[in-house]
């Protein structure tokens, strides 16, 4: 018996199980009971250290496996907690919550209609600006620019994505808001129009870099074949490359839309925070509010039902972006499969 237990294999498994169970307990306590059990933590760390010293290979593999579940765990936690806190708002009166037109904190009436509409307007505006420019700059970078220029342009576009959104919002508020107000002779500062423009610029790098990857992924021999038939380069791109990359470009557009939809600070700083539908409905020069700016501007001061309603808004946002990114992922993986086969 004793020999069996001292057998390295079972000791390894025992230790591993012990540590894993302690880790699971530690995690469960933390999530469910809001306590961080230091003793369990000690057990986990010491057990891991022991495992590392004596059975490095299997300890490494187990740790790596746990690491690979981290992204999924976080995603699930986000979904669960937003759901727990936000679902009551949906439950009360889902149709009114999503389509009603009033957000009145003092009287505790909460509906997201105007904010959903605002998000749609702003995202639509941003997409109109970002989509054509993003795709055509991707074409330029991938196909028309010389190599040296390309090596400058790609990082420069990345940099565009790196400028913090709070800086975009600040510059937009200082320069764009009042400029638009003056030029179009509008009576208010916080219209949908100004953040749309800034969001267009912010969504552009996402579209460009993903679309550029998609265009670049099309095997060169396809285009070369067309060129050999005597067509111009543009004709080859238009008839061969772009159709092949179309699903990738589609994915890029979806990601860009997701980016614009979820962008927070720039919108919050530039929009007028009026929680009502614009009138007439498509007047992009009316002040308004989007889902993200609603959350950002009110969560700090909300209590009670307002928190639930804001969590509901967050949940809605999360779900929309989730669907968008899964869709784009599916499109992309189809594209990859096609070329792998071809």
């Amino acid at each position: 018996m004793i020999e069996k237990f001292t057998n390295k294999l079972s000791l390894r498994i025992l230790l591993g199980l012990f540590v894993l169970v302690s880790f699971a307990l530690l995690f469960t306590f933390f999530v469910l009971f809001q306590t961080f059990n230091v003793y369990l933590f000690l057990v986990v760390v010491l057990g891991t250290a022991l495992g590392w010293v004596f059975f490095e290979d299997s300890a490494a593999k187990t740790l790596l496996f746990i690491a690979s579940t981290s992204a999924g765990t976080i995603l699930v936690l986000i979904a669960v907690f937003l759901f727990l806190r936000g679902f009551p708002a949906f439950q009360r009166d889902p149709i009114f919550f999503l389509t009603g037109s009033e957000w009145h904190v003092y009287r505790e009436i909460y509906s997201l209609g105007p904010m959903i509409w605002g998000s749609i307007i702003v995202t639509f505006g941003a997409t109109i600006i970002a989509a054509p420019m993003g795709v055509s700059s991707a074409i330029f970078i991938a196909k028309f620019s010389p190599k040296w220029l390309r090596s400058i342009l790609k990082p420069a576009i990345e940099l565009l994505a790196g400028i913090p959104s709070v800086v975009y919002g600040f510059i937009g508020f200082i320069l764009l808001n009042s400029a638009i107000m003056d030029y179009f002779d509008i009576s208010n500062m916080g219209q949908y129009f100004a953040p749309s423009i800034i969001l267009g610029i912010m969504a552009l790098p996402t579209i460009t870099s993903v679309a550029e990857d998609a265009i670049d992924a099309v095997p060169e021999h396809m285009e070369k074949g067309a060129l050999a038939l005597g067509v111009t380069k543009w004709q080859a791109i238009k008839e061969v490359t772009l159709p092949s990359a179309s699903s990738g470009i589609m994915a890029a557009l979806i990601l860009g839309i997701g980016r614009a939809l979820g962008e927070t600070m720039a919108v919050t700083m530039m929009i007028g925070h009026k929680t009502a539908f614009p009138s007439p409905l498509f007047d992009i020069f009316d002040p308004g509010e989007t889902l993200t700016s609603l959350i950002a501007s009110q969560i700090g001061e909300a209590s009670g039902q307002a928190v639930e309603a804001l969590m509901g808004a967050g949940l809605l946002l999360f779900l929309i972006v989730f669907v968008l990114s899964v869709t784009s992922r599916i499109i992309q993986s189809r594209l990859q499969r096609r070329f792998r086969r071809g």
Binding site: L42, L46, V53, N177, S178, G300
Partner: protein, 332 residues
């Protein structure tokens, strides 16, 4: 097992031990936390800045104790803390809204809740009994201005009647031409504050009679803080807003109003109808740490430096000051 591994193992041991012992005893530093109204913030943050800097008695520019009849050799914070037999501590002031400050102080997340509206106005649904745990300390007085863009003021719109103000914020008057005192053909941009802020609450109470009023459809944009209201007024040529008096400048001047009693008031008048006290609330009495900080603000020194000197707000009268000092626990 190699020496290397042993060394590694012992290192890990030491790390774990140190980290766990620290996380066992790890707490935030010993600080007095305040949070809440952006209107009270200038007073609170200035006071906290003096407190944390703790200038010595030699630094008479910032700690002129003898000017206020205080006889001490101690530094600023040391002196006020010593009144309650305490060691010096730090003060951190957060910034949100009156409602938040009041909620946080009740939840025990902060020690002092700054509010520019009384608790009973912020929480009209709560009973007297529920509100009785709040201990109010009035630290200064504000007057809410009706401030307009410079262009509007220069076009002659310098006096508004109460009906006009109601009309503008209800959306019944949409052009400056609709105001009796001026002929300025421009649409009105009515700038509101975030709901839940004391400024918004007191505006509703003073102008409309209740914080639960509905139909304020004239408000075009809402900003979270006084500063943004001021920014928006300065950057526009058609705006009107109701910031605290600290946020009025030459570029967004304050209006005179003709109130319902028929009198014309200017913001300089004692009887300005939108006056309001500025509160620092504590929860269930006032602790010694809280009292030490509050006593500094309520003293002659605090009133003249933090309220009169540092901001545009108004000091408490001597009677009010005595009343407020009375509420604090006696010094040791």
């Amino acid at each position: 097992m190699s020496i290397k591994k042993l060394a590694g193992l012992s290192l890990v041991f030491m790390l774990v031990l140190s980290i766990s012992s620290f996380s066992l005893f790890a707490q935030g530093q010993d600080v007095l936390r305040a949070d809440g109204s952006s209107t009270v913030y200038p007073i609170a943050s200035l006071a906290a800045s003096y407190w944390n800097s703790n200038p010595p008695i030699a630094d008479a520019e910032y700690w002129p104790a003898s000017d206020y009849g205080i006889d001490t050799e101690k530094s600023l914070a040391d002196y006020w803390a010593s009144l309650y037999g305490l060691e010096t501590f730090n003060v951190a002031v957060g910034l949100s809204h009156s409602g938040v400050g009041l909620n946080k102080v009740a939840e025990g997340k902060v020690d002092i809740g700054d509010s520019s509206a009384g608790a009973k106005f912020e929480f009209p649904e709560k009973t007297e009994e529920e509100l009785s745990s709040y201990t109010a300390h009035i630290v200064g007085k504000d007057r809410q201005a009706f401030s307009v863009s410079k262009e509007v003021y220069e076009a002659g719109c310098t006096v508004l009647t109460k009906e006009e103000i109601v009309g503008i914020f209800k959306g019944e008057i949409t052009n400056w031409k609709g105001v009796h005192s001026c002929d300025y053909d421009k649409e009105i941009q009515a700038i509101g504050r975030a709901v839940g802020s004391g400024t918004e609450t007191m505006f509703r109470v003073n102008v409309f009679g209740s914080s639960e009023v509905s139909g304020l459809n004239g408000i075009d944009v809402r900003y979270g803080q006084n500063q943004m209201v001021q920014q928006a007024l300065v950057k526009s040529s058609n705006g009107i807003g109701y910031p605290g008096i600290d946020f009025v400048s030459d570029d967004n001047p304050a209006l005179e109003v003709i109130w319902e009693d028929g009198n014309t008031y200017s913001i300089e008048d004692q009887a300005w109808p939108l006056g309001r006290p500025l509160y620092m609330y504590t929860w269930e009495g006032t602790s010694k740490t809280e009292a030490a900080f509050l006593r500094m603000i309520l003293s002659d020194f605090g009133q003249s430096v933090f309220v009169d000197g540092g901001t545009e707000y108004f000091m408490l009268s001597e009677k009010e000051q005595a009343e407020q000092l009375e509420k604090l626990p006696p010094i040791e």
